[in-house]
């Protein structure tokens, strides 16, 4: 089998011991890599009863067989752990260059357990791995940490994935940042890293990554490259970045505004992808082997950075009632420097804004206050003043003040930038997401709003459960492969299956690919049931089920869970409580 680096490194941080073992063939066959590896290794190793912040939790970095093989957009790695924010087994995905470097250093995955007595970082170096002192790095931002490690190793080819001060301070939605601006963003993976006294992983190497059938892979690569280059959607991502969505989502009247009180922001244009392109954009930027380049390098008022991507652009912008693009970009940069999830941080601030305006919390912040918002981002990262309470996430914060209904979250994780009341299938995908409030575990926005691969009526519930299941399973397989999810606008399941077959030598067809995705999904689900999740959790905030939208075409609509959930469970082979049946578990090899 090929496409793999061949080894997994296990670092026991409590003992300060590093062990290298071959990547098991059965793990490759059953779970491919990336998210599949992460969820399998994590759920094998960790007792479901543990506290996610305890040293018994495990953090798994894993690339996929398509990462770093020169396939367009094959750059991703996944970080899997038990989320301290949601309590669920989850994974967060990042791009950039680090995933490729980890493989070039000789490793398909890195499994981190225990807790170091003092701050350390793990250095992966051409087949070897060692833990090194990181006491001098503690307290540094992600940019400072990256520069300091590259300097002390005296090698500019080194790539660094690290936490910032927010991870050290155990902010429940702290993220992990590689190459200063790419984030494994969600679920608090950075807090788990901080709880282990692990500041960073650095990777260096030039080991070969071979495909099983190089000639065949070249053919499939070319087919895939052409599909991506010819696809209009991929071109738009290059020209305007992901924030091009601001206007189309707003014009559909499904852009959550002021903590989901409405779904239309009058000044959306001021923070749109089009406005970014003509104001602060310096140049587009891509991850390893990317031919799309949706990243945005910006420069304004002497400040340089990247983004904002659509999600933080929305969350710091319309969701906080703010139309000041520079403030939004600055807030996003603070999140990158301190290592904060740039969805959960602003969405938690939006929750505070609503509660403060309505008098449930005594605080001067109001919707539209950009200066106050920027101050709160830093306070959260440093756990200072009210930031210490907000660092627990919107659900815990709003509950503390007696009003959990103001937290726009699912399974305690803040919802992304779409209002489910006007996009029914997306609502189902988010409510049933095994990692909580989420949009990239099954991106139903694509058929329901963007019209790809075909146009589905967003107001209709009929037929959506099947679409959601298929999208969730396919996404799990893509996340396992190491490919960027954005390829799915241009590619179909058969393309991923052909890429995997040529790269690994395993014969994977479309049905086999979807089955691997379904296996990953069900394994996450089964583990999360052991952690106490059930039907009651597969839902969205009461506001979205009970308060109709107030304007535009979807006026009067709510999210209609009851029309979809039972059918979704049935299609998945789950019982009425959402538990996979014995038959389904057996079918997937999870009995």
């Amino acid at each position: 089998m090929d496409g793999y680096a061949g080894n997994i490194v296990y670092a026991d941080l409590s003992l300060g011991k590093v062990t290298i073992k071959p990547t098991p063939p059965d793990l490759k066959k059953q779970f491919i890599g990336g998210r599949g590896f992460g969820i399998r290794l994590l759920t094998d190793m960790v007792d479901p009863k543990i506290d996610p912040m305890s040293e018994k939790n495990v953090l798994v970095y894993a690339s996929g067989p398509l990462t770093g093989t020169g396939i367009p957009l094959g750059s991703r790695y996944e970080v899997s752990t038990i989320s301290p924010l949601t309590g669920a087994a989850m994974s967060a995905n990042s791009g950039g260059v680090f995933g490729w470097k980890m493989k070039k250093a000789g490793f398909d995955a890195v499994v981190l357990s225990g807790k170091a007595k003092k701050p350390v970082y793990l250095f992966l170096d051409n087949g070897k791995a060692e833990l090194r002192n990181a006491a001098h790095l503690w307290g540094k931002t992600t940019g400072q940490t990256t520069d300091a490690i590259m300097e002390e190793l005296n090698d500019k080819s080194v790539r660094v994935s690290c936490i910032g001060p927010a991870g050290e301070k155990l902010v429940l939605f702290a993220c992990i940042i590689n190459e200063k601006t790419r984030a494994a963003g969600r679920g608090g993976v950075g807090a788990v890293m901080g709880s282990k006294n692990l500041k960073a992983i650095a990777a260096r190497g030039d080991l070969p990554i071979k495909a099983a059938d190089e000639a065949q892979l070249d053919l499939v690569k070319e087919r895939v490259r052409k599909k991506i280059e010819d696809n209009g959607i991929e071109k738009a991502l290059h020209n305007y970045g992901t924030a091009v969505l601001i206007n189309i989502i707003n014009e559909n009247y499904v852009l959550p505004t002021r903590n989901f009180q409405t779904a239309h922001f009058a000044n959306a244009e001021n923070v749109s992808g089009e406005t970014i392109a003509k104001t602060i954009l310096k140049k587009p930027k891509g991850c390893y082997a990317c031919i799309v380049q949706c990243g945005r390098v910006h420069e304004f008022d002497g400040e340089t950075g990247e983004g904002p991507e659509y999600e933080p652009d929305w969350a710091f912008g319309p969701d906080c009632g703010i139309d000041d693009l520079k403030a939004v970009a600055r807030a996003n940069n603070i999140c990158n420097e301190y290592g904060l999830d740039a969805i959960s941080a602003p969405a938690t601030i939006a929750c505070l804004m609503e509660m403060a305006e309505k008098g449930y919390v005594k605080h001067p912040i109001r919707f539209g206050d950009a200066k106050g918002m920027l101050k709160l981002v830093e306070q959260i990262a440093k756990r200072e003043d009210i930031g210490n309470e907000l660092a627990e996430g919107s659900f815990r914060f709003a509950t503390k003040y007696g009003h959990p209904e103001f937290s726009m979250s699912s399974k305690k994780q803040e919802l992304p930038a779409y209002d489910p009341r006007g996009i029914q299938g997306y609502g189902l995908a988010t409510a049933t997401s095994v990692r909580g409030g989420d949009h990239v575990y099954g991106y139903m926005i694509s058929p329901e709003v963007l019209g790809a691969p075909e146009k589905l009526d967003p107001y209709v519930t009929k037929g959506k459960p099947q679409w959601v299941k298929t999208f969730q399973d396919l996404t799990a397989a893509i996340d396992a492969s190491g490919m960027c999810l954005f390829t799915s606008f241009a590619l179909g399941a058969e393309d991923y299956a052909d890429l995997l077959t040529a790269t690994t030598g395993m014969k994977i067809d479309t049905a086999g690919l979807l089955k691997i995705g379904e296996r990953i999904w069900n394994l996450q689900k089964l583990y999360n049931i052991k952690r106490g999740f059930g039907r009651k959790d597969d839902t969205l905030p009461a506001r979205l089920l009970n308060e109709p939208l107030k304007e535009g075409a979807p006026k009067g609509q709510v999210w209609r869970r009851d029309e979809m959930l039972d059918e979704y469970y049935t299609l998945r082979g789950w019982d009425r409580e959402g538990t996979p049946t014995q038959e389904k578990r057996k079918d997937l090899g999870l009995a």
Partner: protein
């Protein structure tokens, strides 16, 4: 009757981003697009794969509702309508 037209992303490279147009009763989205093709060079090529067939992933909204779920290109225009024109876009 008066209709407001809003263009986004690459469509702004060939037409104004926001403007009003007057139409007679009975006009449809198709009438509007034919009008735009006459007014602005490049609109037809960007919007249509072949005469009468929109390119993949082009989305046209009438007051926030995709015309695909109304009457397609034959969707009638009404006084005060806001018509939003989107080329293929995506994000996440």
């Amino acid at each position: 009757m008066k209709v407001q037209v809003k263009a986004f992303a690459t469509f702004r490279e060939v037409m104004d981003s926001q403007f009003d147009l007057d139409f007679l009763q009975g006009a449809t989205i198709r009438t509007l697009l034919e009008d735009l093709i006459e007014r602005y060079d490049g609109v037809g090529e960007l919007m249509f794969a072949s005469p009468g067939t929109l390119r993949d992933f082009v989305n046209i909204l009438k007051n926030g509702r995709n015309i695909h779920f109304l009457g397609g290109l034959d969707t009638p225009l009404d006084d005060g309508d806001v018509i939003a024109l989107f080329p293929p876009v995506a994000g996440g």
